[in-house]
């Protein structure tokens, strides 16, 4: 099969999104099944791409209109993108089933459209090879995210959405300025070519451009203190959307930041930017964990925890070493699985018991055993208990961090992890050893989804080799810029 079919990854959600009103016109009940169908198709496409990339070992370059870069816009589906596009699709597929249980508020057709567009935006951000195209996908992602945050139509949701919008708006404006500076200085928007030419860039322009690009993405990537919107948005958004935020939207931002960082590594101020990101990432972890400590709303608590884990990833990606990037990517995968699990389970509890307040979790072990078990496994994994997946990536991150000489950063994030352990374990005690209540019949489909994710957590925990190999290849994709340049068939303009 031709590699160009990979453009289906963009095409399927985009076209389907436009078809939603048509489907709705046919039957309102068909909207949700339609979502399942589309995400299934997307997952299949992504799985094919994934298989293709990892078996051939070569990235798939999709050139729009057969124009060769840098004249034409290209998609670059390397090891990283193949892996994450698959994760995006797979998680979306699970969520499309989850939607049945959790989305009761009208208008469902709008929700379905936004859902697909959010998936599209994240996919695009990960897959694109063009910096302005990246901006476009980023805007698609964030605007749908603003809308979805407000979807629950409560006052809190509106407020959260507004905060998100203001901060996100500022961030993307600066990102755009950054693009302008880079373009003004180099005359190209193709990432491979930027990488090629970055060394010859005007020093001041390069510094300012890099800093603004990272600054803009840091808002999406939830780095402290630019993440102030996140807890509110996570809490207010519908449960499936929260899962999407945590599992891949933020990852797309992180990936973009990391990609831009590494392709511009010949810029003079590169090491200072890295150091700044390390500091911000460390603070992200620290502040988020402490903020979660006395949180009474479990969903918000896990939101803080998610932010802090993102800080972990950012720290690893900003180390500037192969080991760091590999560890960061590994942690991204693990975090996507674990946080999807936790948010799905907590959202489910909130739906069944009318809210995600801590009180509702009393006696959950007896009331909803499968959900409780899932939350337990998820929590233990996040804490970093061995035999669960996060243990391995945390270990890798710490080893990589100290290896670069940031012992203080490692120490601080570990202190934060102690705090994390405390609030998760308190939650577990509430779930298993306090209170009691009537048994609630749990949905078989959701139970299956959660148990699937639990199984993944444990399988990766016991046998991490396979995923670690994937992560290593994906990490090399980001880190090895020379290879990246070589892979993109540049037309030879301006070089």
């Amino acid at each position: 099969m031709n590699g160009q079919y990979a453009s289906l990854l963009i095409a399927i959600p985009l076209i389907s999104a436009f078809f939603v009103p048509v489907i709705k016109a046919a039957s309102k009940k068909a909207v949700m099944p339609f979502l399942v169908l589309v995400t299934a198709a997307q997952t299949a496409a992504a799985a094919w791409v994934f298989n293709e990339v990892y078996t051939t070992g070569k990235p798939i370059i999709v050139m729009a209109g057969a124009w060769r870069p840098p004249v034409g816009i290209n998609l670059y589906i390397g090891h990283f993108a193949a892996l994450f596009v698959f994760i995006v699709a797979a998680v979306s597929f699970l969520l499309s089933i989850y939607n049945f249980k959790t989305i009761k508020i009208e208008p469902i057709d709008k929700y379905a459209m936004l859902f697909l567009l959010l998936m599209l935006g994240a996919t695009g951000m990960i897959a694109t090879g063009d910096i302005f195209n990246l901006f476009v996908f980023m805007e698609i992602t964030s605007i749908t995210a603003y809308a979805l945050t407000a979807y629950n139509k409560t006052g809190e949701a509106a407020e959260a959405s507004m905060k998100y919008m203001i901060l996100g708006g500022i961030g993307s404006s600066f990102f755009l300025i950054g693009i302008a500076i880079v373009y003004g200085s180099l005359g190209t928007l193709n990432m491979a070519q930027i990488a090629q030419l970055a060394g010859s860039m005007n020093a001041t322009a390069a510094q300012a451009g890099l800093a603004l690009l990272i600054f803009g993405l840091a808002v999406e990537a939830e780095l402290f203190p630019l993440n102030a919107w996140a807890p509110d948005a996570y809490q207010a958004a519908p449960h499936p959307v929260t899962v999407m935020f945590s599992a891949f939207v933020v990852k797309a931002g992180l990936y973009a930041a990391a990609r831009l960082l590494y392709i511009m590594q010949s810029v003079g101020s590169w090491h200072s930017v890295l150091k700044l990101v390390v500091i911000m990432a460390t603070l992200t972890v620290l502040v988020a964990e402490f903020s979660a400590l006395r949180q009474r709303n479990v969903k918000r608590m896990i939101a803080y925890s998610s932010i802090s884990q993102v800080g972990f990833i950012a720290l690893a990606l900003a180390l500037g070493t192969q080991a760091g990037v590999d560890a960061g990517v590994f942690h991204m995968v693990n975090h996507a699985i674990v946080k999807a699990l936790l948010f799905i389970a907590v959202g489910y509890v909130a739906v069944e018991l009318g809210g995600a307040e801590m009180e509702n979790f009393r006696g959950l072990g007896r009331r909803m055993p499968i959900t409780a078990f899932s939350i337990t496994i998820g929590s233990l994994a996040v804490i970093g208990i061995p035999m669960f997946n996060v243990f391995w990536s945390k270990l890798r991150i710490i080893l990589a961090t100290v290896d670069v000489g940031y012992t203080w950063a490692a120490a601080l994030v570990l202190i934060a992890s102690v705090v994390e352990a405390v609030y998760y374990l308190r939650l577990l005690h509430v779930i298993w050893f306090e209170g009691s209540g009537e048994r609630i019949t749990e949905s078989a489909a959701l139970g299956a989804i959660m148990l699937l994710l639990v199984a993944l957590v444990i399988v990766i925990g016991v046998y991490p080799d396979y995923v670690w190999n994937l992560a290593q290849k994906a990490g090399a994709d980001i880190f090895n810029v020379a290879q990246y340049i070589k892979n993109v068939p540049l037309m030879g303009v301006g070089a």
Binding site: I166, V287, V404, V418, F433
Partner: protein, 627 residues
């Protein structure tokens, strides 16, 4: 042929999972017991191999980390102690464990401890270390949230300190396996020694590195061993769980800390630490610090043990104190001291394990834990009492019990190492040990029995078997300490302590356990003859005593069970005002408040201030010179 190591390692956890999944009464006990017996059997089977100085290694690659587990002379010693205690724990749990949950986590910690003891690289060491903490935490969580969290937080702080240490070692050496790292340290130590003499050398580890490493690893192992001032978790955690499990928890898990100090700090980086940190009054500074930590632990924990009002707390503090002896012995820095420490690892495991089994039996049969509720049980549970007495004699260090043999070595080592004040702490500690074991004896077994304990029955058979195993070991290793010493000598590849099975000879001292036993028996026989020669004795009840002429009635219980050592508390009132436990609690409270303040000021919900954050970051970017 599959080698023995993975069987020994993984059978317990598999059995635990099976017991948890099946969770049928009767079946889970059988599976659990099998899971504990098999490692012991296999360890005994490989004894001839390791005793020859050969080793058995099992390697696997996980997450592209090379992990390996080895049974050699050193690791076998710790592993067999762990396995035997694990077996007695399982025997106890047959009677006391009420659910598959207990079996799962108890056997999980069994596997984890064996993993820690046999690991030959830092990844598997850390992995099993965390697993061990987690499993034991779950055993406590079920019974008490506060105690378990205190335990977990301190343990995790320790584990993360260790992780930083491991990462630092990895950053400098690029290796994670013990063999390579040991070589690097050994070479670096030589270079440090040379550069101390004026030669120029590029060192892998700087002095700062070594100070950090020492701090990190000492914290990690100190927490597990329950060393002062990181001991505060132990009394709560040891008491708030299934007491059969505490046999293992206090008998073996604390030894993981000791093993860490012994293996990592001493065998792996000892020489380097010595050259980097220098000496203090002729003692290597790092060992001197360990010795003092041990000495303070002994004294503080023993004093607190004496003043406890709860049976479990008393034994828990006593465990902390006894591990202090081991640290102290390691701190002497002599081969004799190390031998003493290793011997005490064994004897503490068997006598404290015995103590906890006795406690488990008593609590199982009476449902009480406070001294004021007990009394006169010796008549009701004679075998348990006899076993308790053996444990008491061994702990108090009465010749010829195992406890004395190891303590004797520690005395000799500490005094010969010219650490007089540290040695003084042992004297004080052993007097305190006398005091608290008598408390245990008096309150539980003697005096008037509260009427609600009148139909207490003897402990169930499996518990008695477990106690029997440990009781016999206490006596055997007491009379024939040479059995242990001979094995320990193999570790040093030279006879540190000479003599034969019954006799230990150190450079300046001797102890012939057999002759002491025989003379003691002869003495008792002589005294017994006097007794037999005397007139017949008439048996009277405990209430028929001299009471200054006042008649004694059944209504009043005349035994003194509360505040038995009140005068000591009065003498110590100044010191008892301070408590590390309260200090940590306060610290925890403060950090929770800090967390609140932080959250409220950072995530204050005001989008204006959020916008300011963006502006500030931009400003920082500009000031940093990257914008």
């Amino acid at each position: 042929m599959i080698n023995e190591v993975p069987i020994i390692l993984f059978v317990p956890i598999v059995a635990g999972i099976l017991a948890w999944v099946l969770d049928v009464k009767g079946v889970r006990e059988l599976i659990g017991l099998a899971g504990a017996v098999i490692p012991v059997a296999y360890l005994i089977k490989v004894y001839p191999t390791v005793a020859d100085g050969k080793s058995i290694t099992y390697a696997l690659t996980l997450g592209s980390f090379n992990m390996s587990f080895t049974l050699n002379t050193m690791t076998w010693y710790f592993a067999i102690i762990g396995a035997v205690l694990g077996l007695t724990m399982a025997l106890g749990m047959v009677s006391t464990a009420k659910s598959g949950y207990n079996w799962l986590f108890a056997l999980m910690s069994f596997t984890a401890v064996l993993g820690v003891f046999t690991a030959q690289d830092f990844v598997s060491f850390f992995l099993f270390w965390e697993l061990m903490t987690f499993a034991s935490f779950m055993m406590v969580l079920k019974y008490n949230r506060h105690a378990s969290l205190k335990y977990f937080i301190l343990s995790v702080i320790g584990a993360y300190a260790m992780l930083l240490g491991i990462a630092l070692v990895y950053a400098r050496t690029g290796a994670l396996d013990f063999a390579t790292i040991s070589q690097v340290f050994a070479k670096d130590a030589q270079l440090t020694g040379l550069s101390g003499m004026g030669y120029h050398a590029t060192l892998t580890f700087s002095r700062t590195d070594m100070i950090l490493l020492f701090t990190f690893f000492l914290t990690a192992f100190g927490v597990k061993a329950g060393a002062f001032p990181l001991h505060v978790w132990a009394p709560d955690a040891y008491s708030e769980t299934d007491q059969s499990y505490t046999t293992f928890f206090s008998g073996v898990l604390s030894k993981a800390g000791v093993y860490g100090i012994f293996y990592v700090l001493l065998m792996m980086m000892g020489a380097k630490l010595y050259f980097s940190l220098g000496t203090f009054h002729g003692h290597p500074l790092f060992l001197y610090i360990i010795a003092w930590i041990g000495a303070i632990t002994v004294v503080v924990a023993s004093f607190l043990a004496v003043l406890q009002e709860d049976l479990r707390k008393l034994l828990a503090y006593s465990s902390v104190g006894q591990v202090g002896y081991i640290l102290l012995a390691i701190g002497t820095g002599t081969a004799l001291g190390f031998s003493g420490a290793l011997f005490h690892v064994l004897s503490h495991a068997i006598f404290k394990g015995l103590f906890w089994l006795v406690t488990a039996a008593v609590i199982l049969r009476t449902g009480k834990t406070r001294f004021e509720d007990f009394g006169g049980l010796a008549e009701k549970m004679p075998i348990t009492f006899a076993m308790g007495l053996v444990a008491v004699l061994s702990l108090a260090g009465i010749p010829p019990m195992a406890g004395f043999a190891s303590k004797w070595l520690i005395y000799e080592a500490a005094i010969q190492a010219h650490m007089p004040l540290v040695a003084g702490a042992i004297f004080l500690g052993s007097a305190l040990a006398f005091a608290y074991v008598v408390r245990f004896l008096y309150s539980l077994w003697f005096g008037q029995r509260p009427s609600d304990l009148d139909d207490v029955k003897e402990a169930p058979a499996p518990l008695l078997v477990g106690m029997g195993i440990l009781g016999i070991l206490n006596i055997v290793f007491g009379i024939a300490p040479g059995l242990v010493v001979e094995y320990i000598n193999k570790l040093f590849r030279k006879p540190v302590i000479t003599g034969n099975y019954y006799k230990m000879i150190t450079p300046n001292g001797t102890y012939n356990a057999l002759s002491v036993t025989l003379v003691l028996i002869a003495g008792i026989v002589i005294a017994g003859l006097l007794y037999v020669y005397g007139a017949r004795a008439r048996k009277v009840p405990v209430t028929d005593t001299y009471q200054s002429g006042n008649p004694v009635t059944e209504e009043y219980n005349l035994s003194i069970r509360r505040n038995f050592y009140r005068p000591l508390a009065e003498a110590l009132d100044f010191w008892l005002k301070y408590s590390w436990d309260r200090f940590y609690e306060r610290l925890g409270q403060l950090s929770e408040d800090f967390a609140d303040v932080l959250r409220k000021s950072v995530y204050n919900g005001n989008v204006q201030s959020y916008s300011w954050y963006l502006a500030i970051v931009l400003l920082i970017l500009a000031l940093w010179g990257v914008l």
